[in-house]
Each structure stands twice: as C-alpha cells, then as structure tokens.
Symmetry: C2
C-alpha cells in the first residue's frame, strides 16, 4: 500500500489473470461482432440504436450518446451518418441548446432493432452467460462496474481531491 515511486511489475498470477482478461475480452468482442455482422450491423452500431430505443422519447443527444457507448464524438458523427443513410436514425436540433443535436431512432430503425435483438441476446448467452454461473456472472458485472467507476473518477474534469499522485 506504501506508494513506491517505481512501477512494480505484476506477479505471475496477476500477469496470468491480466492476460486472460485481455484475450477473453477480445474473443468475446469478436464473437459478438461476427454474430451481429451476419445481420449487417456492427456491435458498436447495434449499441447505438439499442441505447436510443431505451431512451425516453427514443432520442439522445450526440454527446450523451457518445459518452454512453464510449465512442469519440467524431466516430459517433460518422457512424450516425451511416445509420442515417439506412434510415434507422434521424438528426434533430435539441431543445434548449442550439449547439446540440438529438439522434432519434426511426420506426424503421426500431423494426430493424427488434429483428436483431433476439439474435444478439442469443449470442450474448452463447458467448458469455453460458460459460459462467449466475454468481460468477454477477461478480463479473460488479467488478466491471468498479473498474468503470475507478477509471471515470480519474478522468479529466473529475476533481480527485488532494493529490493522489503528485508527479
């Protein structure tokens, strides 16, 4: 717990676990993406329309959506263009702030999502849920929540309090 100035290497077990994480997270991403791609979308596109479908009024501001799906704004702009060309989303100026743009899920987008959702759920089960007990899966979720919170708490704009890491 004493902060040593120099980076300590990981011990053998940590190293093994870290490698396991890295490898599995990629296998999983690849598998989920492949399954959705048979239906003509990428996972990252699916996420966008899925978030929109759950948002009140089926719309979200570009910046809020970008944060939610962890994509850069620029990437979201380009992806939204693709989705718009397919008729799945539309852009609308957001109420109140004239800089803002709302991305709205169209009826056609909703239908497309409804067609893909069962495929995707089945894929999540087959590639993830089926390999863990309910407890293991829930522990995975909690651990990942802690990680997300931890990372966000160091993000720029977050006031960390007193210098945890003075150069």
């Amino acid at each position: 717990m004493q902060g040593t100035p120099r980076a300590r290497w990981l011990d053998a077990e940590q190293q093994r676990d870290w490698r396991a994480y890295l490898r599995a997270s990629r296998l999983l991403e690849t598998a989920l993406d492949r399954d959705l791609q048979e239906h003509g979308v990428q996972l990252s596109e699916y996420e966008i329309i899925s978030m929109l479908s759950e948002a009140p009024g089926r719309h979200l501001r570009m910046s809020a959506l970008a944060d939610l799906v962890v994509q850069s704004r620029s990437r979201l702009t380009h992806t939204a263009n693709r989705l718009e060309r397919r008729g799945w989303v539309e852009r609308r100026p957001s109420a109140g702030d004239r800089r803002g743009i709302d991305l709205v899920l169209t009826a056609e987008g909703r239908r497309a999502l409804e067609g893909m959702a069962p495929v995707h759920v089945e894929s999540v089960r087959r590639n993830l849920l089926n390999h863990l007990s309910a407890d293991e899966f829930h522990a995975l979720g909690s651990a990942m929540r802690s990680i997300a919170d931890g990372i966000r708490s160091q993000a720029p704009g977050h006031d960390v309090g007193k210098g945890t890491d003075a150069i």
Copy 2:
C-alpha cells in the same frame, strides 16, 4: 434451465451486468491505449512485441501470434509491416515449413519494449488493478478464462461431439 426454443431476454440484473461489462471493457481499452499512445504505440502493437519478447528465441510464427493476440492474419501482416518499418521486428522464414514466417523481435524492439513496459504496467495498475481487491481481480481472471475456453470450444475446427445445436 429447460432449453426453450426461443431466445429468452436477459433479466434486469443480467442486463445491468452485461452493460457494465461492455462499458467498462471499452473504458479500460481506451485508457490503456491512450497511455501507451503517449509513447507512440497502440495496445495491439504493444501486445505483439510483448508476446515476442516472452517467446523462446524471441520469435513466433505469424499464425501462432495472430491467434495469441486475437487478430486476423491480415491485420497482423499489416501491423507487422509497421513494426518492421520501425525496426522493432524482422521476418524470417520459419524452420521446417516453407509456408511459415517467423516474426522476430530485434534488439531495438526489445529496447523499445523495455522502455514502455513500466509505463504500461503502471497503466494496468491504475486503470484496472487498483480498483479491485486481490480476490476480485483473481475472480475476474478466472471468469475470463472460462469465457475464453467456452468461446474457443465452439470455434470451427473444434469437434463438439454430437449435434448440440441441430439447426
């Protein structure tokens, strides 16, 4: 537990945990990548030279390496070209099989890796390890190992036994 033919949706808690996984895995990837990019490499490039450095003789066959880091062969070919241009790796015909190519870490590549390793370890600690207890982290590693095993056991080429999934 009775296999219903139709996809069951996820229950609210599973959904929450799955979303947490997705979001955190992306925040983590982004954070680790950003930290390495300050030193001019992407995480996926770092992984390649790091695997090479640990391999006996500091070399691996392209196909073995591609599997190890979960990249397509084509992607690895392109990435290896970039690394080769920087003088960090070299290609050599592999012994025995004249179709094969070994990717070898150069002395310069090793030096570069040694320079970046502490940065990367610190980043893994800061973005991942520090947010979990030792037990939680180990459980995460185990869960991810199960997932990797589960996904690979369904991969094409793996004989699954009698038809688990008749059309």
